[in-house]
Symmetry: C2
Subunit: 408 residues, 2 copies
């Protein structure tokens, strides 16, 4: 077989503790695939060879194991169970990366639209997108929600998303809410000329969600929000590959912090929220910004974003990174320095907490984005925008935090 790994997925792990790393790597390679060789006949060993895991490299506690495609199906339950299922419970071990051969990666859907087609739908090609988050959804009447939507839309945002905790929606049921918010979007468009997409939270029994999503699209839905980890990556995959679901899928990272932050355990954030979200088909991926109270390290956030947008890494369309939490207009130039143009500026408190209200909050962001694209300092731009001026007065122009209770 030589050193051709085209028929293998390669997993990189960081091991804690100590001991004989090479022996440990060999035990993992066999234990996670065919079991163990001792006691097997030569004939059986021969026939199992193409199903056995193999050690690729051992570099102290950083080891790489190759898993044969012959054991896998192209979906994330298979991939995660094969590479980290039982192994995750085997002491200090962290799944750092997965490398898929191109043919295998190509069997995953990836984003159905991706950066370019989402821009096409919005008619926005030359600036970061702006997304707004309902400050809260629970407990509002349908009329209150609709009015909140309208105010956000008036500010010139490109997308508005439901709160991810919005499950019990008896006061504003899914289909009625969808209809009312789409009408509010249209009402705002007549004033602003601006298209706004509504990422409505897709909830319910997991096996019914593709059907619910198809129905939503028939009713005019133009984006869907998905709590990918609580429902499992495979739901996102099945929504992404469904040709009747023709709208961008917005992945929320809820629960990701149960998996990525430890140094010793779990799954690294750039793999979990970068590579795997893109493979499974997210068009936009929210993740903790490197600025707010719920921060990823900047280097990790940039790695994550790169995996979403990289043209070399995966054969799929590119996903929009959406660094979230703690975003206010003063941060926009820093965000563009860090993430460049293909990024979504996503704000909750930074829009709703604006002294002029949500519409003014949106306008302040749009002014900050326009200025940053034109390389105009915000202080200068604020001379032409009282909304931006008010935002800068409120939150400053540095990487200062805004209060945590506003973050989302």
């Amino acid at each position: 077989m030589g050193e051709n790994w085209n028929d293998y997925v390669i997993a990189t792990y960081r091991l804690g503790g100590g001991g004989d790393w090479t022996k440990k790597a060999e035990t993992i390679a066999l234990g996670m695939t065919v079991g163990s060789w001792p006691g097997l006949s030569a004939a059986r060993q021969e026939s199992l060879q193409r199903h056995a895991g193999r050690v690729v490299t051992v570099d102290a506690g950083l080891i790489r194991i190759a898993y044969p495609l012959a054991n896998l199906t192209p979906d994330l339950p298979s991939l995660l169970t094969a590479t980290f299922g039982k192994l995750s419970m085997d002491g200090k071990i962290r799944l750092v990366d997965l490398t898929l051969p191109p043919t295998f990666a190509a069997a995953f859907p990836g984003p159905k639209l991706g950066v370019e087609a989402v821009r096409e739908r919005l008619g926005v090609h030359d600036r970061p997108l702006l997304m707004s988050i309902f400050k809260s959804c629970v407990g509002l009447t349908l009329a209150e929600l609709t009015e909140g939507f309208f105010q956000q839309a008036l500010g010139g945002v490109d997308l508005i998303k439901d709160d991810e905790i919005f499950f019990n929606d008896t006061d504003a049921p899914f289909e009625r809410r969808l209809e009312a918010c789409l009408q509010a979007a249209e009402r705002a468009r007549r004033e602003t000329g601006q298209i706004v997409l509504y990422a409505i939270n897709l909830t319910g029994p997991v096996h019914r969600l593709p059907e619910k999503a198809r129905r939503a699209v028939q009713l005019g839905a133009n984006a869907l929000l998905i709590n990918v980890l609580p429902y499992g990556f495979d739901l996102l995959h099945r929504l992404a590959e469904d040709s009747e679901i023709t709208v961008p899928l917005v992945a929320h990272p809820a629960l990701a912090g149960a998996l990525y932050p430890s140094d010793d355990y779990g799954i690294a954030a750039p793999l979990l929220l970068g590579t795997l979200m893109r493979l499974a088909g997210a068009d936009l991926v929210l993740f903790p910004s490197p600025y707010g109270g719920m921060a990823l390290e900047l280097s990790e956030a940039l790695d994550l974003a790169e995996r979403l947008r990289d043209k070399g890494g995966l054969p799929h369309r590119r996903s929009f990174p959406v660094p979230s939490a703690g975003i206010h207009p003063g941060l926009v130039p820093h965000m563009m320095d860090d993430f460049s143009l293909d990024v979504v500026v996503n704000a909750g408190g930074g829009i709703h907490g604006h002294p002029g209200g949500a519409a003014a909050g949106g306008r302040a962001f749009r002014a900050a984005i326009a200025a940053s694209v034109a390389c105009i300092p915000l202080e200068e731009a604020a001379m032409g925008s009282s909304d931006l001026r008010a935002a800068l007065d409120q939150w400053g122009s540095g990487k200062a935090r805004i209060p945590k209770e506003f973050s989302a």
Copy 2:
């Protein structure tokens, strides 16, 4: 509202770091529900009150927050997103426990059979059950798998489970494998008089799995193995509540180690693999035994098992705990001391690694179980069972480990 928490789910967290715990708790209670109060009118505050989270207790870094049922739907994506979705990414924080009011808990399916009805199906009432794991499934022909099944069944095991990594089954496709193994079970039953259930690994697109499970049951399947975390808890829930799926659901803990082992992050094992698995409807739950190479602390394993079987904690049927990895016949009396009768003795290497083969391995376990139930020391029982004698000679009778590569 006083101190009546009947309309709330109470989440217990352990916080790391330092600071003002009370302030932090209050920020969480609001931030995870309605957002923040400042800036809201008195009328709006009033109307949102019944949707707001509330601080129950603050005991240094151990805090308890009550989440209104008014925000929730009775399913685990809702419950996990509401209590730990965004919050999981908020620094050092670990979800230690969730307490559901009885009415809300009752809306979850729980086990469709539970301990008593599984025992009924097997006709086994007075001893721990014995489960055997295919040593490996991948790469075997259907004939090899069937013969392996038959040998395990001959040893007198009550259940046989597929390897959880068995996704790519082109050499032994699901329906043909089911049919062949059921025939092997029947063939063994004619020799031993013993019923054996086959927990076949349920894999495929998540939204199709309830349909696939129903079809499997129509074809005679008598148990199903589910990688609950890779697919998401809600799949288990939907299988459990489906009245056409009439067979025990066996939950594999694959990937759980990405969530529970850290002291600072993630979800505690007794909650994750105990309470939540039972709520969602697992009849049997595998988890790392306190004996093998992939060990849980004994106290944690006992807490987990108690949550599965406790008659007081949840209104549901009781689930079988299946402490797994590192189990050999010499451990059986220790297991019964620790877990009592309502437990499943689950072995892979401890059956297949027996010098007399898998059938002898099963017989050795059955002899050890019979002796332990009768309070006969294994050394004495081994005088009447050469298979048990050989097992004790191989692995001893203490809590010594068996080699990791045999564990499952």
